[in-house]
Amino acid sequence: MKKPLALAISAAALAFTSAALADDPKEGGVVNTIIQPEPPGLVLGMVQNAPTRTVSGNIYEGLLRYSTDLEPMPQLAESWEVSDDGRTYTFHLREGVTWHDGEAFTADDVVFSADVFHRELNPSARAVLQHVESIEATDDHTVVFTLKQPFGPFLISFEAGTFTMVPEHLYAGTDFRNNEHNDHPIGTGPFKFSNWERGTVIELVKNEEYYEEGLPYLDGVNWHIIPDGASRAVAFENETIDVLPSGTVENFDIPRLAEMDNVCMTEEGHEYFSPFAMLWMNNREGPTADKRFRQAVMYAMDREFAKDVLWNGLGNVPLSAFGSNARFQNDDLEPYDYNPDRARELLDEMGYDGEEITILPLPYGETWTRWAEAVQQNLREVGINVETQATDVGGWNQRLGDWDYDLAFTYLYQYGDPALGISRTYLSDNIAKGSPWNNVEGYENERVDELFNEAATAFPDEEREALYREVQEILHEDVPVGWLMELGFPTLYRCDVKNLVTSGVGVNDGFKDAWLDR
């Protein structure tokens, strides 16, 4: 089947969906929520931390927004077209959009943001922009991106946190990092920055001039800063806080809080990031260098148990390298089900002699410690002689950067597309000492390199899919790393906060559509 290459989604479609979602929304009210930890700054693009994305995604906007299925939705761009060769992307901007200071938002702002601001400050946008040959404003409301060659994930890189639109009239020609407006961010979003009391609260108020009719419903959003985890849980229990974004309370508190009256929980709203927990396995030396050993580890681990007991049953046990939220998942692969006997067979076959190997837990708190204990026990039960080495964050970074480990826990964001969040773990040119975030396991496979590189620039999607399916088969067989879980990071909220999670980044841009039924 041949799909139409040119995509055009009208604003009417969006108006229809939001009307369907919101049954008779009420206006007004302020939502109290949590931001943890306190962000270092609020200007997206200049600051990339997760808490900045969460707060500022409601102040700033990108050209596109993404559904929980990671389909692009209109935001500042109301429609877009892709040329037949996959090299030219034309965005038609919404008219009548103004910045929070009253200036009009135009195509020049887009060109400035992408070509100047992000190229200078933003490494994750830069990774995408290296594929871009030119960015031109053909008129006030049309921007054309011309790519050097097709780049599959291009359309999924316009999320506000990655590719924020910043006002040209305030930033052009200034020293970005010391710009006076950094303390008072100006965006186009549904909420305006009002006040930031350091260590206490960040207050956002309704943007009365917002371009979408009737939105936002809320009068404001207050992001409270409460450094202690137990106190955050208590603040939610005693109803000071209405919304707990994912990751703001400890895992073991979640079942208790979720069982309270008038408390709802959703697992949606993290599909764009979809954190993927993995077990690094050192492919260079020791028993872990043997493919059969790595397969045995996969069979030995009871991943369903870890999901049910440690992650409250939330999340998903992946088939192989591509998670369920990544595009182009090959679901014909045979799962590595919990099968200790198969693991023992594989170990016998390779002649494992009981050589001691070590496991480094991720020093991110109780859940990860317990997880390492469970995996250690799983491995011991099939006869692998494994010792845990406790370490702190610095030690963990250093040992992974120096490749001084046998097994180690980690988790990585998938960013919706294999070329953005997955290939980096397996490409051999991504092997470099000193960083715990690249191809740390030292996996080298020419065919895999070829397939990943080809797939990133293949066009259209059918071509990419075929390449990615093949790469998954090879990875599934070679097991360069252990695939533990796609983590479920639930958002907890009072049930009278309606329509909170409407996109693949959850509360990061969710307060736009939210309303209070009080």
């Binding site: 073991f252 007991v309 469970a374 250690q376 039960e381 406790a390």
Partner: protein, 277 residues
């Protein structure tokens, strides 16, 4: 009156000894009663005590048998207590003996060195040492030994200072015995009783220190100790009281027993000083 009769006169000490023997029995019987690793996830998590056969104390956050953990933990706690105390004695006794026997500049140097350790809070130093050396049984034993030898050194020094001018020591010197012989054969045996009493209390302190370190997550991640059990249970104390209660009681009883035994030993070894009862 025999040694044991004097010891048994102190009823508390007798009770302490019985508890201690029970705990030692627990440690020895652990591998027989629970041959499986205490880390093994055997049942549904969070089973309350007595709710199911074979799990008298319930299961923990991961479905591990609390009773098994408690018994295997006894062995770990006693081992750490005894070994670290022995190491502390190996450092403290010679230093104290040399300082007390020779006096003068040697005494000054050694005592300033000792004071250097005494001025740093025990627990803080232990944390730093374990963190630097990476948590493992060896590093924990060493850290506990390093923070607990100074009192031994001071005690032994004081004993040596009071004994070094006794007639029998001067006699030994007159006969031409070497300093080493005098220290090891003449004075040291006479300082043993206070050292033994102190050591029994040090074992108790060492167990507490190990528990505190494990509680903070600085325990050896490969051994199930009581402190680890409490530390891991702390986060779920509102859902599952039994996870921290039983290991807590075990630590309390062990430390109490060791203190009682220490007191009994004191009475038995120093009959003249013992209080009238």
């Amino acid at each position: 009156m025999s040694f044991f009769a004097r010891f048994a006169q102190n009823r508390g000490a007798l009770v302490g000894l019985i508890i201690l023997l029970l705990i030692i029995a627990m440690a020895i019987l652990a591998p027989l009663l629970f041959p499986e690793s205490p880390w093994r996830m055997v049942q549904r998590p969070f089973l309350p005590p007595l709710s199911q056969d074979g799990f008298p104390l319930g299961t923990d956050t991961m479905g591990r048998n609390v009773a098994s953990g408690l018994m295997h933990g006894a062995w770990v706690s006693l081992l750490i207590g005894l070994v670290s105390t022995s190491v502390a004695l190996l450092i403290g006794v010679p230093l104290g003996a040399i300082a007390g026997y020779y006096g003068g500049i040697i005494d000054d140097i050694l005592m300033r060195f000792t004071e250097f350790f005494q001025t740093i809070p025990n627990f803080a130093l232990a944390i730093v040492l374990v963190a630097i050396m990476q948590p493992s049984i060896t590093s924990i034993v060493l850290a506990i030994a390093i923070v607990s030898w100074p009192p031994v050194a001071r005690l032994v020094r004081a004993e040596f200072m009071s004994l070094r001018n006794r007639e029998y020591v001067e006699a030994a010197r007159l006969v031409g015995q070497s300093n080493t012989t005098i220290i090891l054969r003449q004075i040291l045996p006479n300082t043993l009783s206070p050292i033994i009493v102190l050591a029994s209390l040090m074992v108790a302190t060492a167990i507490l220190l190990e528990s505190a370190l494990s509680f903070l997550g600085l325990g050896d991640p490969n051994v199930m100790s009581w402190g680890y059990m409490i530390g891991a249970a702390r986060t779920v104390i509102r859902q599952a009281w039994w996870l921290s209660f039983f290991p807590g009681v075990a630590i309390l009883l062990t430390v109490l027993a060791l203190n009682l035994v220490g007191e009994g030993l004191d009475d038995a070894l120093n009959p003249k000083l013992s209080r009238e009862r």
